[in-house]
């Protein structure tokens, strides 16, 4: 099978620019980052106590986001993850679609490959449309932005907090220097809960 080359003519979006646009003036947004490059991208945009970058649990980012969105219905939850991570939790799009949450957003940075392990091809480089799956699962605002203007419009829809949002953003499969978040997930957990819930987080 050959890789699709439909978008090879236009330059692809760059992952860190996409993430910095999404997190510009981030306000009270709560951010989950899938393991690997999306966690480095979110950290490159600015380490923050209300980021929970994942170091493992591949396939769990979207569901972590759903749990957080159910717990904090007045806050926007943004999950930033990769195509391989989303493919591993594809069934969670069904669970999320049925849940009818309006404050969860999932943005997949799609480089059509497993970037952390040597750029092996993933299914999204063939015929699998994650935005299509999300839409058919009931996430009506599912899109595949290709320009930075469309990413800015996506950012505004995410910050509006009035609907569940899914976006599959095709990005350049570039390898960038790692920007590492703290790697102790227990620390990240406490930091997040203290920032969100205050001191009661340590006592309940």
């Amino acid at each position: 099978m050959t890789r699709k080359s439909t978008s090879a003519l236009a330059p692809r979006l760059r992952r860190r620019e996409v993430v910095s646009v999404l997190l510009a003036d981030r306000g009270g947004i709560l951010v989950i980052a899938g393991l690997g490059a999306p966690a480095w991208d979110v950290t490159a945009a600015g380490d923050h106590p209300l980021n929970f970058p994942m170091w493992g649990a591949m396939g769990g980012a979207a569901m972590l986001g759903l749990g957080l969105a159910l717990a904090q219905p007045t806050r926007r939850v943004l999950v930033v993850t990769g195509d391989g991570e989303m493919l591993m939790g594809l069934g969670s799009l069904s669970t999320i679609g049925v849940s009818r949450v309006s404050n969860l957003a999932i943005v997949v940075l799609d480089n059509e490959s497993y970037g952390e392990t040597g750029q092996q091809a993933s299914a999204t480089g063939h015929s699998v449309s994650l935005a299509g799956v999300a839409r058919e699962c009931g996430i009506v605002d599912s899109s595949a932005p290709t320009t930075i203007e469309e990413v800015r419009a996506l950012r505004d829809r995410i910050h509006a907090k009035d609907r569940c949002v899914f976006a599959q953003v095709k990005i350049d499969p570039e390898k960038l220097p790692l920007v590492l978040p703290p790697r102790d997930s227990s620390y990240l957990k406490h930091r997040f809960r203290l920032a969100l819930l205050g001191d009661s987080a340590l006592h309940d």
């Binding site: 493992g56 769990g60 749990g67 717990a71 669970t95 957990k189 969100l196």
Partner: protein, 193 residues
């Protein structure tokens, strides 16, 4: 299908004194312990508890595609300040193993209520590998495992496991034994009984 199962599962313990009302008691316990979220892949052994939770407007039900989704869901919920439990059959335990690395590594509270198959009186050989392996694989990944085989002890066991999970921020699984639940009688089902 569940009707026949329920019939058998109630044998010998139909009375409240014998603990046959454990689903109702566990629901009341979950309510009293501020459990707001029930994540589940259904099992016949959990059917009554699921009905009680569904009838409770204070409980949010999330039906999962696969059990490991619930592990991540409840970690996210606790990150956001609410508590939940995960209901599954033993065949779903294996699906959870790598996802359990998150609550094990980062010390998230997690309570899993697992109805056992592949053990006492099992008819279906396909249930045996995961059923028999469930306690060992859970312990291998770092989950604390509590087995209960008598309906009269379910409420107390779940209560202790819940406190253990949320007080110490650890994943804990309660295995609800097939001796207590009863085995599904496939022969009767095949005869249309």
């Amino acid at each position: 299908m569940t009707g026949s199962f329920q019939e058998r599962s109630a044998r010998g313990s139909r009375s409240a004194a014998g603990g046959g009302d454990w689903p109702e008691r566990v629901h009341s316990l979950l309510r009293a312990e501020a459990i707001d979220l029930i994540a589940l892949v259904p099992d016949a052994g959990h059917a009554a508890l699921i009905r009680h939770c569904e009838a409770d407007p204070g409980m949010r039900m999330v039906r999962l595609s696969t059990e490991e989704e619930g592990v991540a869901l409840l970690a996210g919920a606790w990150l956001g300040g609410i508590r939940g439990v995960l209901l599954m059959q033993s065949s779903g335990v294996g699906n959870c193993i790598n996802m359990l690395s998150l609550p094990v590594m980062a010390q998230f509270p997690l309570l899993m209520l697992v109805t056992m198959r592949g053990d006492h009186g099992e008819f279906n050989p396909a249930q045996l590998p995961m059923g028999q392996a469930s306690p060992r694989v859970l312990e291998a990944i770092g989950v604390l495992v509590k087995q209960v085989d008598a309906t009269a002890q379910v409420e107390e066991t779940v209560h202790g496991a819940l406190r253990l999970a949320f007080n110490s921020c650890r994943p804990v699984a309660v295995l609800l034994g097939q001796k207590m639940l009863g085995a599904k009688d496939f022969r009767k089902l095949a005869r249309g009984e």
